[in-house]
């Protein structure tokens, strides 16, 4: 066991100041009626003894931990990192701390996290881009009172929601439409693994057909949302389908992986292959050629999610939804 420095307790402060514990507690919280004189005196003793409240004791009686859980599939992905930054910043100002749980793109791990994150550990949870199906996710979050999910819809009584302005999956259709308009005819699509739900792909294909854009199921692949996975999927897809003249990717990291694969196969971008990504991370604008992608203000997504969560934590269980705009930013990869 660790040697813990012997900290002063409320009782120590009370004794030293010659008042009751409640008086000290009231001074700390600024509640109740305390004379200026007493308040001043207690403050001096607190200072002198370097008293700090014991979080666990406080939590035990108030049932509040002032800790927020942030669950994301990959904290190495700049997209989530910037959201996290927004969340952390917001909650820091509000006196909450953020506990991080990284599922590492592993659905089982995500389940374990959600299962173990007890109400005695956190006051609320933000779940980003869950890789679980609704059937898996919903039972796991039902027991939590304060939940906000990002990039996912939820039955309204379970928690608030932050999503894109465009209905899910529709972004890829927009991208395809733009590519078609700029003359591309054989458009590949590397989808992120969770969206493998055929519903999504079916929708995508139907929409394309409605727009008279050529459709071919073998042009569509799925992969994990990492650069490495994008690179490997890109290599295979481009080798097997040299006819492709454009690829849409589920996010920037994957798009950039595909870009690397394309370059290695001697393809010129955008002449031979156009590329569209998904969330406008810094790297997207700095590669050559810069990547066309959908803008998303990730920091703002984070602060919005945090704000909606705070409302729930503070007892306002109204359902709120916030939609962030994601316009297509056209750069030189298309």
């Amino acid at each position: 066991m660790t040697r813990k420095p012997q900290r002063a307790t409320l009782a120590d402060v009370a004794r030293e100041a010659g008042v009751s514990m409640m008086t000290v507690s009231r001074v700390i919280h600024g509640t109740g009626r305390i004379s200026d004189e007493t308040r001043q005196h207690v403050r001096e003793i607190i200072e002198k003894l370097e008293y700090r409240p014991n979080r666990a004791a406080r939590t035990l009686v108030t049932k509040r931990t002032y800790m927020i859980g942030f669950v994301a599939p990959d904290i190495t992905n700049p997209y989530f990192t910037e959201i996290l930054q927004g969340v952390e910043e917001f909650f820091w100002r509000e006196g909450y701390n953020v506990m991080l749980a990284n599922s590492n793109e592993n659905p089982e791990r995500e389940k374990a996290i959600l299962d173990q994150l007890e109400s005695t550990m956190v006051d609320g949870i933000i779940v980003c881009s869950s890789r679980l199906s609704d059937d898996e996710l919903i039972p796991l979050i039902e027991k939590h009172s304060a939940i906000v999910v990002v990039n996912r819809n939820l039955p309204h009584h379970l928690g608030s929601v932050v999503t894109t302005l465009h209905p899910r999956g529709y972004r890829a259709v927009l991208a395809a439409k733009y590519l078609y308009e700029t003359g591309r005819r054989r458009i590949g699509y590397v989808n992120l693994v969770r969206s493998i739900s055929s519903v999504n792909l079916d929708m995508f294909m139907q929409e394309l057909q409605a727009l008279h854009i050529p459709v071919n199921p073998s042009w569509y692949a799925t992969c994990k949302p990492t650069w490495q996975a994008g690179y490997e999927t890109g290599k295979v897809l481009l080798a097997e389908h040299p006819e492709l003249d454009a690829v849409i990717a589920g996010n920037d990291l994957v798009a950039l992986g595909v870009m690397r694969a394309a370059v290695e196969q001697g393809l010129r971008i955008p002449q031979d292959l156009a590329l569209i990504g998904g969330d406008d991370i810094l790297m997207a604008s700095q590669v050559t050629p810069p990547l066309t992608t959908f803008r998303s203000d990730k920091y703002h997504i984070g602060t919005m999610a945090a704000e909606l969560l705070l409302r729930r934590v503070e007892g306002d269980l109204t359902y709120y939804e916030h939609h962030y705009d994601d316009v297509l930013i056209i750069r030189e990869s298309t």
Copy 2:
């Protein structure tokens, strides 16, 4: 206040199972002597009531939170993100959670974090690349029993340490030497803000002089370790000193910012300007031209720091230090 789902307590389980609370506690911890029959029965009741231990109550008596604090200057910087990933992964396996504190490159904020991070909140702390001076940092961490710092040295009794193999600041000298050998003669240096300590820069200049590499104080600038700051510092530095034929940056993000500034000023890399970064983030290898930089296995730094911290948390207060190798990876920016 939030509606918290009414959770079963130890007492509920004990009553329902017809045993004492201690028996239930023993079953949970696998300690003490319990008959197989009782154990089985208690487990069933736990399952049935969906009992989960109350963390705060446990912490209050054991003084252990099973929470680790991770303090970094910028969680948006992939360098720290990957370290964090290593830390989180390691501690997750060990049954600890990680609390995140982002100082946002703001020394005052870092101080506030370290001051508020009480032993009643975390069992130990990892401090990455602190932007504080030793004089500021040391008093703040003295009160914590379990500390590991990354990229900083520490009096041995205060905590363990993970640093580069090369003495601090020496990396820039290595980079300069390499640049000189490849024919560069007017070498700029964009240092990170904390290292502004003139000691560091003096050392750098002395070493260069010893190697007969031209030295000029006005070629050296400092900036915050972000892409944006690197970009802006680069713009100014390159405009004022068109004679520069190489720039060394404190980290990759800054180097890439300088690269962008150089490209905008019409400089060709590496023909007109050679560039060296600092920590080999993914983006460094994906820009054109790929950036020469120092390799660092960030995930491994994270797991090593976590391992050293766990030892301290578990009561082994021996001083350990781990040095990670950082070799120069030569790419096309030089």
